[in-house]
Symmetry: C2
């Protein structure tokens, strides 16, 4: 696997990629969640779990092959990062 | 507090209301999440936490006053239940 994208950590067996995103207000959280849903619909890749409150979103990605994290997983993680638009 | 709505359980200190919703497919999960977001925007009430994967959504509601579950909380829980459209 390529190097982990900054801010993501590998967790668990089988391994997952985890990152917490924090936002200043619910509107930003909502915009990120909507963009993430659109990305999943576009790619067919769904995070294993998304856990959110008003100002944070925790994203857990599972390995695409169910066993080992691969470049495909880090590429998807970077696409998730790219959904953040800093205002 | 009024009796808990069916399917919800009280948890933790301060107490929260928790329910797990299961769906047959991602499209139903997405429709529920979108309806829940619209309900929050309409009412200004946001669940403390929403935790979801492709076919489930776990909803945790905190007490409106931050301390004790009240009728307002069970009323909101019932409104969440009402978002489920059985197909």
């Amino acid at each position: 696997m390529a190097e982990l994208p900054a801010g993501w950590e590998a967790r668990g067996k089988p391994p997952t990629l985890f990152r917490r995103f924090s936002f200043g207000a619910y509107g930003e959280t909502r915009a990120f969640l909507d963009a993430l849903a659109a990305l999943s619909e576009e790619t067919g890749v769904h995070p294993q779990n998304i856990n959110f409150g008003t100002t944070y979103v925790n994203v857990t990605l599972e390995a695409a092959d169910g066993e080992t994290l691969s470049d495909a997983d880090t590429v998807f993680a970077r696409r998730v990062d790219a959904l953040i638009v800093r205002s």
